[in-house]
């Protein structure tokens, strides 16, 4: 067989691999949209589930999901950004930095159910916070930490060196340079990283299922329990009693996630400085 024919066949296979990947994405999204779109109505979004089959809406689950996500974001964003500032601006390569990076990589790869068990053991039981938004948010924040840390560090490293030199040349201290020159320049990419990690938190199930509780409740204080959309979808799907509501919940979840993802992209494209 001539090398041109081999080449054509092989490149064809690579095209097929890429097409399958895109087609799978299209199929999953299309399937959720087609089946869920008929369910979406103001009534579905803004009312409570009723009865054994959870007829009616999903409002408390939406609030629970957004509540816990926002709480986790508030907890972890400052820590993650400052940690990244340390790694990118202050740290000297060595054993300490190696340990920190290894820990962050490990956190990023912890199976979500292990993070859930950890949240249950530490926050729910040992710390006595109970099944609550706060317990779930704390467990989630460990999941988000490595994501925000990594994107922030990359963003800071992408800021050109000469900008810093200019600042030092004017007599600025390190912190003045970091806080007034480097971080503002890196901000669009940092915000993108935060949005992406938030999307991750919205879609998380195994971490929150045994830290937030599963009872349907509209959370007000951080110590209230609730049921996030992902757990609601899981329970509806596994019990198979109310598939239309499951489709509707899946679509809302998908809209939220895609909204976060596309929002982050759009934001980055508009504000790209570095």
């Amino acid at each position: 067989m001539s090398k041109r024919i081999t080449n054509a066949i092989a490149l064809g296979m690579l095209w097929i691999a890429a097409l399958i990947t895109v087609a799978v994405l299209g199929t999953v999204i299309g399937y959720v949209v087609i089946n869920g779109i008929g369910e979406l109505s103001p009534r579905f979004i803004f009312t409570w589930p009723e009865g054994v089959a959870a007829e009616g809406g999903v409002w408390p689950t939406i609030v629970s999901t957004l509540y816990v996500t926002a709480l986790a974001m508030v907890i972890i964003t400052p820590i993650a950004i400052l940690a990244a500032v340390y790694l990118a601006e202050y740290a000297v390569q060595g054993r300490l930095v190696g340990t920190i990076r290894f820990a962050a990589d490990s956190l990023a790869s912890v199976p979500s159910i292990v993070m859930g068990l950890f949240g249950l053991a530490l926050f729910v039981e040992a710390a006595g916070i109970g099944f609550s938004m706060l317990s779930a948010a704390l467990a989630l924040s460990f999941l988000m930490l490595p994501i925000v840390m990594r994107t922030t560090e990359e963003a800071i490293r992408a800021v050109p060196k000469y900008i810093r030199w200019g600042s030092y040349g004017l007599g600025a201290t390190k912190w003045q340079t970091v806080s007034r020159i480097v971080l503002p320049a890196a901000m669009p990419r940092i915000i993108t990283g935060i949005i992406l990690s938030t999307g991750r938190a919205v879609g998380e199930t195994a971490v929150v299922i045994y830290t937030m509780g599963q009872a349907i409740n509209l959370p007000v204080s951080p110590l209230d329990s609730g049921r996030p959309m992902t757990v609601h979808l899981y329970l509806l799907a596994m019990e198979g009693i109310n598939l239309p509501a499951a489709y509707g919940t899946a679509l809302l979840l998908m809209i939220l996630i895609l909204g976060f993802n596309l929002g982050a992209r759009f934001f980055l494209r508009r504000n790209r400085k570095v």
Binding site: T6, N7, A10, L14, W15, A17, A18, I20, T21, V24, L25, V28, Y31, V32, P78, A80, L82, A83, Y86, E89, Y90, A91, T99, I100, F102, A103, D105, S106, L107, S109, V110, P111, I113, V114, L117, F118, L120, L122, F142, M149, T173, K174, W175, V202, G203, E204, T205, A206, Y210, T230, L233, Y234, A237, M238, L243, A246, L253, M254, I257, N261
Partner: protein, 307 residues
């Protein structure tokens, strides 16, 4: 970074900033170090809290009976997790077998073949695939794939095959992204040299580029492996949740992760301890895979500097 001028002012002989500024800068630096330490603290806390809850199972049941016990039957006091480990491994291997060619193919396509326009469609698609929540994959697998698999293999469609297909999709973004980075970091000159010798695109890819990016691609597969072993909800929804050794690939099985979710609501005593014990094993495996990737990249750096 620390060699940047003008920053260590107070520590040298030259006093460039006031004492107050110096201490403020020092305090801030240590605060940032503390924040970075949260990641380490997280790992230690996970170890401590999952470990303390799970450790007694190794003492009570014995490590051998726990890890190599062939029967998981908590009501009878049998806590052998071998069938669950077997389930995790079977599900992971199948997903890798299907997902790896797809992901590496997509990565090669993105880095070597796609025009910028095509790339601008395929790449975000791969990234979005990573963003879709696992519970939606599970839902999709349960409602759409399961009946198809049931028709093809007989039975209910709950089992390894359905889990393979779903997980294969889920690990594609992980493997594709890291493989693509590895391919893109190969200097363009190497491609040009290959083309100049009369090689076709495909010859360049499999004789030059893939060997050059080998370590990066293996890293990607190892991390995909970690993702497959740790994945919980999607597998849980399609795997059938029977903690036994299956007779065929279409029989219901269970994995370490799924069994934890299934049993947690009612588990007590030794049973609960055993679930935390499984959590430790999962954590150690995922950390081990991360360590393996780091070792390999160190090995690669050593090789390149030795060349």
């Amino acid at each position: 970074m620390s060699e940047t001028p003008g920053t260590q002012a107070g520590s040298g002989t030259l006093q460039l900033v006031s004492r107050r500024t110096y201490f403020k800068e020092l305090a801030l630096k240590n605060l940032f170090l503390l924040c970075a330490g949260v990641a380490v603290a997280g790992v230690v806390l996970i170890f401590a809290f999952v470990g303390v809850r799970g450790w007694p199972i190794f003492a009570e049941v014995g490590p051998w009976a726990f890890l190599a016990g062939r029967e998981w039957n908590p009501t009878a006091g049998l806590y052998g997790i071998l069938p669950l480990i077997y389930g995790s491994v079977v599900v992971m291997l199948g997903a890798l077998a299907i997902g790896t060619p797809l992901a590496v193919g997509t990565a090669i396509f993105l880095s070597e073949i796609a025009t910028p326009r095509v790339r601008s469609i395929v790449r975000p698609a791969v990234e979005l695939l990573a963003g879709i929540p696992s519970v939606i994959y599970g839902f999709f697998g349960l409602i759409i794939l399961r009946p198809i698999i049931a028709d093809a293999t007989g039975g209910l469609g709950f089992g390894a095959v359905t889990a393979w297909l779903i997980l294969a999709i889920m690990i594609v973004p992980t493997i594709a992204a890291i493989s693509e980075d590895a391919l893109r970091s190969i200097p363009p000159g190497i491609r040009e040299a290959s083309y100049a010798m009369g090689a076709t695109t495909w010859q360049t890819i499999y004789k030059v580029l893939v060997p050059a990016a080998k370590i990066g691609i293996i890293d990607a597969i190892i991390l995909g492996m970690g993702r497959a072993i740790g994945e919980t909800m999607a597998v849980l929804m399609v795997v059938g949740n029977a903690p036994v050794f299956p007779e065929s690939i279409s029989d219901p099985i269970a994995t370490l992760t799924t069994q934890i979710v299934m049993d947690m609501p009612y588990a007590a005593g030794d049973h609960r301890t055993a679930l935390f014990g499984m959590g430790i094993i999962l954590f150690l495996v995922s950390m081990g895979l991360v360590a393996l990737v780091r070792l390999m990249s160190r090995f690669q750096t050593a090789m390149e500097s030795g060349r």
